[in-house]
Every structure is written in structure tokens, then in C-alpha cells.
């Protein structure tokens, strides 16, 4: 995209054009600050954290923000999903907080554009008084083509007869760890050759060990006209809770 834009700018007559090919991901990786827009903060599925001392937060904070003073942040990190978009604001400690969180494996950490002062100056909503929302709630929204765990369970239990589960793991993994009920094992690399074994009129839910291969198999099935979805979950997670036929 950036090279396309640079090409356009050149066409419009600009003389001094450069492209930062490494882009936003590299900037974040170098622990440099990135910012979120007010619109994204208000409407996005985000975890907004006020890292100032709690007395400051009580005096006034961005509406919907969780108050986690910087000294407590380290202890609270495990309360926040690593793949949640986290947005921080505070005083001079904010940049340290960004660094700490990125270091701890948080994939998306950004700052409030203009900080708290900028938020107020823009006339955005704040709240005051005691803080009651101490438990951090964030639920990941299903991505494109993902099947919900609830729907997947219905297929695995046999309750949903209109769905077929495909296990895209290798034969060796299945032999060692077992397989879900109502499931056909077609290793990912055999999907192109064996997809004709699957019904086109039923829903196909693909899973693997973590979701990576299931995603690839899902794309291949979708391309070939199957009503496919995939499960993005580490099936070893207790959360999965599907009955396994042990080898």
C-alpha cells in the first residue's frame, strides 16, 4: 500500500518521497509508541487502561477505562487477554507501560491520541468517582470463517446432525492423542485429494491442534464450494471440553 501511495504522490509531482517499508509492526516492535483514535477507543472492542495513580483516576477518567496504576500493572497483566487491543493513557509512566506490555507478549498496545488532556480538550466523555469495574472483561469476536466453540461442541456431541467435523491433524497426532466424536481425520496435506469424501450440503467444521492448519484447510474447502468454518482454539485447552475417543 505504501509503495502504491508513493507512486501516486510521485505522479502528483511531489519531489521528496520516502517509504517506511517496515511499517507500523516494526515501529511497535522497536518499542516506539503508536496511537489509537478517539473513535476506535469509543467504538472498538478494546481494553482501555488508565495507568495513573488511582486518586487521579477517581478525579476523572475516560469513560469505560479500567484503572490499573502503573505500580500494579505487572500483577494485573494476566487478567488481560494477550490478543486484546489494549489502549493505555497516563502520565510519564505510559511509555514504560507500553514497553512492559509489549515485552510480556501483548500483540496490540497503543496510546490515546493526545492523551487524557487531548481527550478532554476534544469534549469526549469522562466519568468521575469510585471505580467499580475492577474485573477486566474482554471477549474476542469471531474472525471471518471461524466457528464458535458452542456450535463446534454441538457438532462434536452429535446434537447438530447437519455438521461434519474434520480433524486436519496428522495421523500420528490422532494416534497419540485421540480424536473427537463424529469426526473424520483428513490431514491438511491430504485435503485437496480427499475433500470429495465430504458432503457439500452440510456444514464442515475443521479443527487441528491450534487453528493454524484448520484455517488453511478451511480456505481450501471454501474455495472448492464447501460450507466450511474452522475452529481457532488450542484443543488442549480446558475450555474446549469436547469428548475425546482415546486411542
Amino acid at each position: 500500500m505504501s509503495t502504491a501511495s508513493a507512486g501516486l504522490a510521485k505522479k502528483f509531482g511531489y519531489k521528496n518521497i520516502r517509504v517506511y517499508l517496515d511499517g507500523e509492526p516494526d515501529w511497535a516492535k522497536a518499542y516506539l509508541p503508536t496511537y489509537a483514535t478517539h473513535d476506535f477507543i469509543k467504538n472498538g472492542n478494546v481494553v482501555l487502561v488508565d495507568v495513573r495513580p488511582s486518586n487521579e483516576a477517581v478525579k476523572g477518567r475516560i469513560k469505560g477505562a479500567y484503572s490499573i496504576p502503573y505500580e500494579q500493572l505487572d500483577d494485573r497483566l494476566d487478567d488481560i487477554a494477550r490478543n486484546a487491543p489494549v489502549i493505555l493513557y497516563g502520565d510519564q509512566e505510559t511509555l514504560d507501560a507500553v514497553e512492559d506490555m509489549r515485552d510480556d507478549g501483548f500483540k496490540f498496545v497503543s496510546l490515546v491520541q493526545g492523551g487524557f488532556a487531548g481527550w478532554i480538550a476534544s469534549g469526549e466523555a469522562i466519568e468521575k468517582g469510585p471505580i467499580f469495574n475492577t474485573e477486566i472483561r474482554w471477549v474476542r469476536k469471531l474472525g471471518k470463517g471461524e466457528v464458535s466453540l458452542a456450535d463446534f461442541r454441538k457438532a462434536a456431541s452429535g446434537e447438530d446432525k447437519d455438521a461434519v467435523i474434520v480433524d486436519a491433524r496428522t495421523k500420528a497426532e490422532v494416534a497419540e492423542l485421540g480424536i473427537f466424536k463424529n469426526t473424520i481425520n483428513i490431514p491438511l496435506d491430504e485435503i485437496p485429494a480427499r475433500m470429495n469424501e465430504l458432503p457439500k450440503d452440510k456444514k464442515i467444521y475443521v479443527h487441528c491442534a491450534s487453528g493454524a492448519r484448520a484455517d488453511m484447510a478451511f480456505k481450501e474447502l471454501l474455495k472448492n464450494g464447501y460450507k466450511a468454518k474452522f475452529l481457532l482454539l488450542n484443543i488442549a485447552d480446558a475450555e474446549c471440553d469436547c469428548e475425546i475417543i482415546r486411542p
Partner: protein
């Protein structure tokens, strides 16, 4: 929790340009010129060019997105010990895969990194230099070329959001009046 997740007709080119990453310019540029014959030839030559959308070492399989816009298709290619340059098959990165058919299977022979081509006279800037410019409040116009939603979530300090289709539509109206001012464009990188 999970280890990973997720572009030829002149008319469709615009769509292609709207939605793809930095390293895609090369393809777009080539397709701009009416060389439909060449595209066909490349298919015959067993080459896939595009973004790697998945790789499994256990299944020894790579998924690569080829073609633009609505014509985009994700192709599965197997690899083995004979495959050269498998380290260039990195999810999110652009690659060129030369493959061969073995029975019903498609095997990658060579995987190469697909490098972004900068327009003539345009130079690359690295993180260190750009961050120094930002820190010193150097006069420049920093543009985020990604879709507005990506800008909304996380953008560089002082950057303005001009997604590629918007720049096409509004043209220089969104850029500084001074044609000699430094313009820096960025997007989601090769990832």
C-alpha cells in the same frame, strides 16, 4: 492461544490495490501494463506470486494467496526436504513459489522472497531514521496508507490516515501544498 491466523483483469486491478500490503506494488505495476499473455505464461511456468497466508511444518504445506481482489485464490502447495528457500515462506510475507506437479500433488521447488519495488526516485527509510525525525519534530508529512480501521487501532505519532483508494480519489488535495515537503508513506509492512 493460537500460533497463527490470516490477487487479472485491468478492471479488477483497482480493487486489488485497495486491499493489499506493501510488497504488492510490484505485481500491480506489472499488471497495469496490458500483458495478459504474460500472466498466462506465468501460470504455465508453475509460479505462484502473492502473500503467504499459512504454513504448517507438520503437514509440510504452504497456503499462498494469488491473484487480485475477487479473483484472489488461495493455493495449497506442499514442500519437502528438496524445497529450496522454505525459510522465505513466512505467514503475512509476500513470496514467489516455483512449483511442480507430482501426481495429484503440487510441490514447491523454490520459495523466494518477493521484494517491494519502490518507484524511481523514492527511497526507503528505516525505523531508526524515522524515529529520529519524529523525535526532532522534523517537518514532514507522515501518511498511513492502510485502511482507516487499522489506523484507528494503532498508528505512528503525527501520522495522517490516507488509505490508498482515498488518495486515488482525492489526489493531491490531501497532501501538502508544497511539493518539496518530505512525504513519508507507511503501511503494515511486509507482514
Amino acid at each position: 492461544m493460537h500460533k497463527s491466523c490470516v490477487k487479472f483483469l485491468p478492471g479488477l486491478l483497482m480493487i486489488g490495490l485497495l486491499s493489499f500490503g506493501c510488497a504488492q506494488k510490484e505485481d500491480v505495476k506489472q499488471d497495469m501494463t496490458p500483458k495478459t499473455g504474460q500472466t498466462k505464461q506465468q501460470v504455465q511456468k508453475n509460479v505462484y506470486k502473492g502473500k503467504i497466508v499459512g504454513k504448517s511444518n507438520l503437514a509440510k504445506t504452504i497456503s499462498i494467496e494469488v491473484g487480485k481482489g475477487k479473483q484472489a485464490k488461495i493455493m495449497m502447495v506442499k514442500f519437502d526436504d528438496q524445497t529450496k528457500g522454505i525459510e522465505h515462506a513466512i505467514k503475512g510475507h509476500a513470496a514467489i513459489i516455483t512449483f511442480e506437479k507430482r501426481g495429484n500433488d503440487v510441490y514447491a521447488k523454490v520459495v523466494k522472497q518477493k521484494l517491494a519495488k519502490l518507484p524511481q526516485g523514492v527511497t526507503e527509510i528505516k525505523t531508526e531514521e524515522l524515529s529520529a525525525l519524529v523525535t526532532n519534530a522534523h517537518k514532514m508529512y507522515l501518511v498511513d496508507s492502510r485502511p482507516a480501521s487499522r489506523y484507528g487501532q494503532s498508528h505512528l505519532p503525527g501520522a495522517v490516515s490516507i488509505p490508498v483508494p482515498i488518495l486515488k480519489e482525492k489526489q493531491a488535495a490531501l497532501l501538502p501544498a508544497d511539493k518539496n515537503e518530505l512525504l513519508v508513506f507507511y503501511c503494515g509492512g511486509p507482514t
